[in-house]
């Protein structure tokens, strides 16, 4: 079994520092890896990135991150990426990494992702150049992650994004802004590789648990959603199940309880996790 810790949207800066670090002591006892799903900074500056690096460096487990829209605000995403990598944090963008962990080979592919919306209410590459560019950006990022995810030679595959792959985890956000919160392209990419888990952030007012149409469990790990330093999800025997997909799994996910916030050592078993959540 692999224990995946995750959090996002920490929005660190000189005025908000040490939010997570005090809770990371001993994380290796509870998790095998920590995923950061973007918006690590508030304004996307390199000064803030130093704070992020100090917060998450040398915590005893590998740290894998994607950037979020806030991390792009100052057009310093490349510098931010280099700084985080210098601190030992893997930053993914249309790329993947395989970690050899005690419980098996964990493959993580990631992208910031982008908006566009969800089937029935989504944008398309039509009309004005700005609209085409918007949707094309979203599609290209998702396609790159899909390719990286499928190429992973791993026992378990996790799709790590900032924007949401599904609408399930946006419940609580105003429906009008769903197209700015995620894109089904990301779910399609995760499903194309039959990923065991999709982790995202961005939707502060959303909810934690959802599932892709193909049955991949989706977790929104935005700090304002979790309200704790990180959540842990278990993959493998006794861990998160891949739903069978389709309407049945979506229905199960919709009626589930907060217990599916799989705490350390509280692995969900079978479909029960979804039934309870």
């Amino acid at each position: 079994m692999i224990r995946v810790a995750a959090v996002s949207d920490v929005h660190l800066g000189p005025d908000v520092t040490g939010t997570i670090r005090p809770h990371l002591a001993g994380i290796a006892d509870h998790a095998d890896v920590l995923l950061l799903a973007g918006d690590l900074t508030q304004h996307g500056t390199t000064d803030e990135t130093e704070i992020v690096a100090a917060e998450f460096r040398d915590i005893g487990v590998p740290v894998v991150a994607v950037l979020g829209n806030h991390d792009y605000q100052c057009d310093s995403q490349d510098a931010i990426t280099r700084m985080l990598q210098a601190a030992g944090i893997t930053v993914l963008e249309g790329s993947g990494i395989v970690l050899g962990l005690p419980g098996g080979r964990l493959g993580v592919a990631g992208t910031k992702g982008f908006g566009g919306g969800f089937p029935g209410r989504c944008g398309s590459e039509f009309g004005e150049p700005e609209m085409k560019a918007f949707v094309r950006h979203s599609r290209r990022l998702a396609d790159a992650m899909g390719t990286a995810l499928r190429d992973l030679d791993a026992d378990f595959r996790v799709a790590l994004t900032h924007y949401s792959p599904v609408a399930d985890t946006l419940a609580g956000e105003p429906p009008e802004i769903y197209p700015f919160l995620g894109s089904y392209f990301l779910a399609e990419a995760a499903d194309s590789a039959a990923a065991e888990l999709a982790v995202h952030g961005h939707a502060h007012a959303g909810q934690e648990c959802g599932v892709t149409p193909g049955g991949t469990p989706v977790r929104n790990v935005a700090l304002p959603v979790l309200r704790r330093a990180y959540a842990v999800y278990c993959l493998g025997p006794g861990g998160l199940p891949r739903a069978s997909g389709g309407a049945e799994s979506r229905r199960r996910s919709a009626g589930s309880s907060p217990l599916a916030r799989t705490g350390v050592g509280e692995p969900s078993s079978g479909n029960r996790a979804f039934a309870r959540r």
């Binding site: 810790a5 920490v10 929005h11 660190l12 800066g13 005025d15 908000v16 939010t19 997570i20 809770h23 001993g26 994380i27 006892d29 509870h30 508030q42 304004h43 806030h70 605000q73 502060h204 007012a205 700090l223 304002p224 309200r227 704790r228 330093a229 990180y230 959540a231 842990v232 916030r261 705490g263 350390v264 050592g265 509280e266 692995p267």
Partner: protein
């Protein structure tokens, strides 16, 4: 006895004083209730006010004396009083505490008042002069309200809000004007109230201002009050959100209900527990 006779006499005094200033080449503009009248207000004139620059006060006093009107400087230190028989003219060089400048007089427009053309302070400067005069000792909204109603469409209300953002009595008066429907919410320049546009503008400011970059704050405007709701990562950010919103909606009351996200420890119970 009807009011018409004293009104007419006051307007005669106004014309006479304007003539004195004009002949002496002293820059001036009509202010106060007469200016409100010139801009469409009711002819309920109780005094005659002119704005002049302080450096012209002595020349003005001499010109009035030469014109047969006595002039004196009362101890207030911001005006000169001239007497035309029993009628008094105030020659004000600090208007609502602000010095009368060439720029202020330059913004005045030539209007016809009681069949006589003379410079009249701009509607925005007039409103500012009244709002800046409000204080604990003079918080009567009735008179400025009667002045403002007929000229509301001539006033740059966004500028008035900006200029009076730090004046509680002025802000209270603006809230009253909104409540009475005399003016719209900030950003609507006296047009139909559209709090939605204002809320949109504040939300954009919160997202785009480099001090905040906050996307998740819900902004609503109700009865001239801006409500900010949501969560931020720290105390200072809650304050910055309020600062940016205040700047985007000058003069409006802000209710900041943004709270700080409390981060709990992760769950650490062991397997099988």
């Amino acid at each position: 006895m009807s009011d018409a006779a004293p009104q007419a006499a006051l307007l005669e005094t106004m014309k006479k004083a304007a003539d004195v200033l004009h002949r002496a080449g002293i820059p001036f503009a009509l202010a106060g209730g007469c200016a409100a009248y010139a801009r469409g207000g009711a002819p309920s004139v109780h005094d005659v006010d002119f704005a002049i620059r302080e450096k012209d006060a002595d020349a003005a006093a001499q010109a009035f004396a030469a014109g047969g009107m006595t002039a004196q400087r009362p101890p207030e230190g911001w005006l000169l009083k001239a007497f035309d028989g029993e009628h008094m003219v105030d020659l004000i060089y600090r208007l609502g505490g602000e010095p009368v400048t060439g720029e202020l007089l330059g913004r005045a427009e030539e209007l016809e008042v009681a069949a006589c053309r003379m410079p009249v302070l701009s509607a925005t400067d007039l409103v500012l002069s009244w709002l800046r005069s409000l204080s604990e000792h003079y918080a009567d909204f009735t008179v400025p309200l009667s002045f403002v109603r007929p000229m509301r469409e001539q006033v740059d209300w966004d500028l008035v809000r900006q200029e009076t953002a730090g004046l509680p009595f002025a802000r209270a008066f603006l809230v009253l004007l909104e409540g009475l429907g005399v003016i719209g919410a900030a950003g609507t320049a006296g047009g139909p109230a559209s709090p939605d546009y204002l809320a949109g503008r504040i939300e954009r400011a919160l997202a785009e201002d480099p001090r905040t970059h906050e996307l998740g704050i819900c902004v609503t405007v109700e009865q001239g009050v801006v409500y900010l709701r949501g969560e931020a990562a720290g105390e200072r950010r809650c304050q910055l959100i309020e600062d940016v919103a205040r700047q985007a909606a000058p003069g409006l009351l802000i209710r900041n209900e943004v709270s700080v996200i409390e981060v709990q420890p992760p769950r650490t119970q062991e397997a099988g527990a």
